[in-house]
């Protein structure tokens, strides 16, 4: 296990290297840029200074080496659009709200989704099943940004109960958390319901029933273990996704979070931000995948690492 983990961490380092090279090459070779003559007409010396400040002088090879050696010392350069701040400080500042929002969302939506999914499966065809399933289905088929806008119209514009956006007190959290939860929760409900129904048709469930196991113990003692593997492989990787924020939720509710920067940095060609965000996401995903696989092997003895 330890050897496997070390091997995986080493390969994660290699993956990071590849990704940084890839991103660098794409950024370098894509036509246009933030300091084009057309975008920003500057005198020769000024231009030189600006380009030097942002590490945009020299060949692609020199730039890459400079970037990596700075990055390894914890300096990711200046964001083009927030030149007073270093990238790492900017990210640290805006990530807070996103993480708060994401953690609350995960803590609420994951257990609730799994629980509701199992309840629906247990009572297949009953009113409860139909209600849960219809709700989950409706929430899956309506895009998140429409739900977010609908929530604002109902709860802020009409009923004037909650603020329509912004960041601050706990009242600012309610609508974004609801909007953010509905997506993962309804997907989970539908997925878990399907899986549980599958499992309930399996021989081992019949055996458990045949040997006289009480019905209410079958799911916690037998079925749940078998749900864990697909649960981890399918929904484990969505955790970092949630924690890096949703641009739709953050723009609709005007939350100063990381999700917005994921999009704006790319649209604005804010290369230092793009680079840093790509690497951060890559690290988080790499670690999530490693944890996923380790759990995988722990939970299913048939899987060898």
């Amino acid at each position: 296990m330890l050897a496997y983990t070390i091997r995986r961490l080493l390969s994660l380092g290699f993956v990071l290297f590849i990704i940084s090279v890839l991103t660098f090459i794409i950024m370098y070779s894509v036509p246009g840029g933030p300091f084009e003559e057309r975008q920003m007409p500057l005198q020769g010396a000024q231009r030189e200074n600006i380009l030097r400040k942002y590490g945009m002088t020299g060949s692609i090879f020199e730039r890459y080496i400079a970037y990596v050696s700075n990055a390894l010392q914890g300096d990711f350069g200046y964001s083009f659009f927030s030149p007073t701040e270093r990238v790492q400080d900017l990210i640290a500042r805006v990530w807070g709200p996103t993480i708060i929002l994401g953690l609350i969302t995960i803590v609420i939506s994951f257990p609730l989704g799994v629980w509701l999914g199992i309840q629906a499966a247990k009572r297949k065809g009953s009113i409860i099943d139909i209600v849960i399933n219809t709700f989950a289905t409706a929430m899956t088929v309506i895009p998140g940004f429409v739900i977010a806008v609908a929530l604002i119209i109902v709860f802020s514009a009409r009923m004037r109960l909650l603020p329509s956006g912004g960041w601050g007190g706990p009242e600012h959290l309610v609508l974004p958390v609801i909007a953010y939860c509905l997506g993962p929760m309804s997907t989970l409900i539908r997925y878990i319901r399907g899986l549980t129904l599958d499992e309930l048709g399996m021989d081992y469930v019949r055996t458990a029933r045949a040997k006289g196991l009480v019905e209410r113990l079958i799911i916690p003692k037998h079925v749940f273990k078998n749900l864990m593997i697909p649960l981890i492989t399918v929904f484990g990787p969505t955790i970092p996704l949630i924690l890096t924020g949703s641009v739709f939720i953050e723009t609709t509710f005007r939350i100063p979070g990381l999700g917005q920067y994921l999009v704006s940095s790319s649209v604005n060609r804010d290369y230092p931000m793009v680079m840093a965000l790509t690497l951060i996401t890559a690290v988080i995903w790499g670690i999530t995948l490693l944890v996923t696989d380790l759990l995988y092997a722990r939970l299913d003895p048939r899987v060898e690492l």
Binding site: I142, T281, G286
Partner: protein, 301 residues
């Protein structure tokens, strides 16, 4: 495709021997036929494809034909679903939007499948050097933040249908690769695979007769959910202004264009939203029905 899934060759218990023997495909079809939501969904999906194909014939107006004195009308006799603020007939735009949304979704899923499935299959099956190399590629692409990468590609290469398909496919295929790899890892040490190996079956036989059919259920569900998923991704990119280029409509673009005026002109958002939702529902019901029909342990029904 469906014919490989259930255990038609298994020795049948006495109850089943009373039933007229049919092919596996026949059995799956029989189960599907009796599932009303699935039958309706199948019809809807077929209709959608016909609408997408014959959009120019069906649409009463052009998608960018602006009749300015009719601007902002609610549904009426002349414009069945009303018009938008530029006086464009909503029904016609919806019909053309079906075309672009369906086209993008199918093209993205197909290209993602063609790359992802063989890839994930090999990554799960092979050991040693090949496994490590393939897993490395899986890791790199999984670690690349998907939506960010799509955005980046679109801002780099510009908006447009083919760029959109490319940008979405690049980030979609890895999902299929991962599902396929997980399925093969799950199945590879099962008794029936080992037994088959012990009986001298070669890799091809094991793959085609045991691994692929058993992975099919997961894959079919993923496809049926992936198609609306792509429609949503396109809708999201449209919301950010990076989807299909004006004036060509898509459902997602019509919805996000309607959001600012939602409280006044509800029809601008309701009809595209309904199209999107009904389409998604149809694919979801189809996925459910296929899952039930393909599941050999569901023999009771």
């Amino acid at each position: 495709m469906a014919s490989t899934a259930s255990a038609s060759n298994a020795p049948t218990p006495s109850v089943l021997s009373l039933v007229k023997p049919t092919s596996t495909f026949g059995a799956v079809w029989r189960r599907l036929k009796h599932n009303k939501p699935a039958a309706v969904s199948a019809i809807i999906v077929i209709l959608l494809m016909l609408v997408a194909m014959f959009a120019p014939v069906l649409a009463p107006y052009g998608y960018d034909q602006s009749i300015i004195q009719d601007a902002g009308q609610f549904p009426n006799a002349k414009h069945l679903l009303g018009t938008d603020l530029l006086g464009r007939d909503l029904l016609s735009r919806l019909i053309y939007a079906t075309r672009s949304s369906i086209l993008v979704a199918f093209a993205v899923q197909l290209s993602a499948l063609l790359v992802g499935v063989p890839f994930g299959f090999l990554a799960g099956l092979k050991r040693g050097l090949i496994e490590n190399a393939l897993n490395m590629v899986v890791m790199i692409f999984t670690a690349l933040p998907g939506f960010l990468f799509s955005l980046f590609l679109l801002t780099a290469f510009g908006a447009g249908i083919s760029q959109l398909i490319f940008a979405l496919a690049v980030t979609t295929w890895i999902g299929y690769a991962r599902i396929m790899r997980a399925e093969v890892l799950r199945l590879r040490n099962r008794d029936f695979v080992i037994a088959s190996q012990a009986l001298g079956a070669d890799l091809w036989h094991i793959s085609v007769r045991h691994l692929l059919p058993n992975a099919l259920t997961a894959l079919i569900i993923a496809i049926a959910l992936g198609i609306p998923g792509t429609i949503y991704a396109e809708a999201g990119l449209s919301f950010l202004g990076l989807g299909i280029r004006d004036p060509i409509p898509s459902w997602g673009k019509m919805i996000s264009d309607g959001i600012p005026t939602l409280r006044l002109f509800w029809h601008l958002i309701v009809f595209p939203l309904l199209s999107l939702s009904i389409t998604t529902l149809s694919f979801m019901f189809l996925a459910d029905a296929l899952r039930d029909a393909l599941d050999p342990s569901n023999i009771r029904r």
